[in-house]
């Protein structure tokens, strides 16, 4: 060891890993080695490149040394000069032992990834799909009612009151007429309840148990009653396919598994939600296309233009842009442009068959529906939010 030309001597504590006795040993620091003399006179030479400092020690005024290849013996040096010289000159003081069992770790990691993927992407969805069909309607309704109240509370503004349900009688009547015209009853496992919530989000969704929610923002964004009818038909498609129930059951299965993986590290909840969103997106895209298909059929049968679904999306796309780039993977909706095209194709088919009939609402009824939440005067402001679903 350069810089240690003079020989330094001191005492130190050595434990040999065989007994709990602390041996008081004499140290001599030579240029290339540390000579340790035990009380019984036996001496050990620890070569400079064999010296390792035990990592992450709280007390750095001394030096806790191990010898490469010897997991048990420890030498605790408190002498300042030798500590300083060793820190300066020992060449491999902080070298780490090589990681053992790399192959086994990789094997288990692959096994864990495979088993978790199997559970999250295959077993849980398959079971959720099957079980959703067996859930009694009353159970589904309870699930939907609980979620409905959660949604109302979650969307409340600063006053923390749940979002109002809009119930202007003329508007409710117009909505009921629209529902009756669509006439999905024969496909539905249970009666549907449609509610309008007084919130300016441009959005609508279906909950388990046949609850469909439209937001005021969506009705205001629509230019024709047919566009609202198209969205309603799409949500009815979700109800018929029992998508909300599948979602809820799948969430129950997968959220716990994701919680296992991310553990409780700082802010892990965000990771958990993002990962869940990613998984959901994969299934929801299929569900959305299924609901669109159903809506096209329902609209054609009711003599309403399927293209209204497309024209509505088109306007949203002009206003908010198509979801592109990385955000697409997190988005639960397929690309709008594809949906617009599909709606147009359905429209062409319906026109060829001569199925397009009277408007869904009269002008007065359409006005009533637009004021179902009471008169609104700030229409232009209401669509500032980005739609999350429709």
């Amino acid at each position: 060891m350069t810089g240690a030309a003079a020989v330094h001597e001191a005492f130190a504590d050595l434990v040999d890993g065989e007994t709990a006795v602390v041996h008081r040993v004499a140290l001599r620091l030579a240029p290339d080695r540390l000579i340790i003399t035990l009380p019984n006179g036996a001496a050990q030479d620890w070569m400079a490149d064999e010296l390792r400092e035990v990592p992450d020690q709280a007390d750095l005024s001394g030096l806790m040394l191990a010898r490469a290849g010897d997991p048990l013996t420890r030498l605790l040096i408190r002498d300042e000069t030798i500590t300083r010289l060793l820190r300066q000159n020992a060449p491999a003081l902080h070298r780490r032992p090589p990681i053992e069992n790399k192959g086994r770790i990789a094997g288990w990691a692959a096994g864990a990834v495979a088993s978790v993927s199997l559970i999250i992407f295959v077993l849980v969805p398959v079971m959720a799909n099957q079980l959703a069909l067996f859930l009694p309607p009353a159970g589904e309704k309870a699930l939907g009612d609980a979620t409905f109240e959660q949604v109302r509370t979650a969307l409340s503004d600063a006053d923390f009151l749940p979002v109002e349900v809009c119930e202007a009688p003329a508007g409710v009547a117009a909505l009921a007429k629209m529902e009756a015209r669509l006439d999905a009853g024969h496909d539905l496992p249970y009666p549907v309840t449609v509610a309008v919530l007084d919130h300016d989000m441009v959005n609508a969704f279906a909950l388990p148990g046949g609850r469909v929610i439209l937001f005021r923002g969506l009705i205001e964004e629509a230019e024709r009653a047919e566009e609202v009818a198209a969205v309603l038909a799409h949500e009815l498609g979700h109800v018929v396919n029992r998508d909300p129930t599948r979602d809820a059951l799948r969430l129950a299965g997968s959220i716990g598994v994701l919680g296992l993986i991310f553990g409780d590290f700082a802010g892990g909840t965000v990771m958990l939600l993002l990962a869940n969103q990613l998984i959901n997106a994969k299934y929801s895209q299929a569900a959305e296309i299924g609901a669109d298909d159903y809506a096209h059929g329902l609209l054609s049968d009711a003599g309403l233009p399927p293209a209204a679904l497309g024209s509505f999306f088109e306007r949203l796309m002009a206003e908010y842009g198509d979801e592109a780039g990385w955000a697409e993977h997190f988005s639960t909706h397929p690309k709008m442009i594809e949906r617009v095209d599909a709606a147009q194709a359905a429209q062409d088919r319906a026109e060829r068959a001569g199925e397009i009939g009277d408007p869904v609402l009269t002008a007065a009824e359409w006005r009533a529906l637009r004021t179902i939440c009471g008169p609104q005067d700030d229409k232009g402001q209401s669509s500032s939010r980005r739609p999350e679903r429709d």
Binding site: E100, A252, F262
Partner: protein, 397 residues
Amino acid sequence: MALRDLTTDYAGRGAPMFRLALKTGVLTVLTLGFYRFWMKTRMRRYYWSAIRPGGQPLEFTGRPTEMLMGFLTAVVVLAFYIGLVNLVLMFLSFSLFKGEAPAYLLSFLGLVPIIFFAQYRARRYILARTRWRGIRFGLEPGVKGYVWRATLWWIATILSAGILWPVKTFELEKYRTDRTFYGDARFEQTGGRWSLIGAMKHVYIAAALIGGGIFASTMSDEPVWLVATAMGAAWAVLGLGHWKAESFKRLTEGKRLGEVRFRCHPRGGRIVGIYLLGGLAIAALLFALLFALGMAIGVLLSFLDPELIAEGFDDFASLAALPAWLATLLGLVAYFSVFLFWGVLREVFITMPIARHLAETTEIVNPDALNAVRQRPRDEFAEAEGFADALPLGDGI
């Protein structure tokens, strides 16, 4: 010649702990949580080496890779249980009870034995990877007995409205201690089943005051009785500090290691003080951090949109001047830094001062008997503490 009793030095310091906890915490966030095995190992090495009975530091010899392995094992086993069982429970709960509460309850109850299992296995791993004076600690296999005992004692504790908590604490500690080794020497927990009841007395008094106050004020319609409730709440804080110190003292002094004994004199007031002052310090620093973040955002905004200063900052709509990616980034930074600093500051201002106080007030009596202790073989224990790591058990340092 009898050696002097060994007092315990504590070498942990705030600044290095802050740096270590922050560095490993940031790495954990950046690696989406997978650095946490390295973080835990490094933090433990530090905490262990800070405790120096008779001047000789403890050493934690666990390796992050074995914790990772244990975690992977646990994930493979638990994922099936948690995924499929929870799904079926949710289905049954809505089919039969029209609500989700029974599912959560059953799912949790099903996990309880696994949690006890994980606790015992985690203790075994930690002891097997702890050395002092070159000699390993160890815990005998015996997880089955622990799981049913823990289940029964927890049921008894809940049925007794918490009165039997000290008995449960003693019984479970005795089960673990009687199976704990230092080298080839076995520990023994002495003191009777009821020996911790006295340590809980102030908590009982506080509970009686709180309950009595509420009862009297409801019955007599005189709100003045609520003063007793308020007194009880303050008493409970001090009482819990007393419980923590006194139960630690009684359990430690009740331990035997052959001829070796322990003496311990922690103070409840000191523990309450650490929690209160530490809590205040953490709150103040977190507040300062949020304030600094807010200032940074304000400065940024004034560069991007100078008119905003003239208009005044009314509500969060003014944040719209920020580009979306920047707003997202700032939000993520703020979110993670609050969690991160909360964890780091808790180590510095609470966990470490408590560890220091408990260490510095503990002595080893008759230490020459230690010289007869021989090494025990290494406990390979491949699963490490995977189950405890996968389940949200809190930190069992």
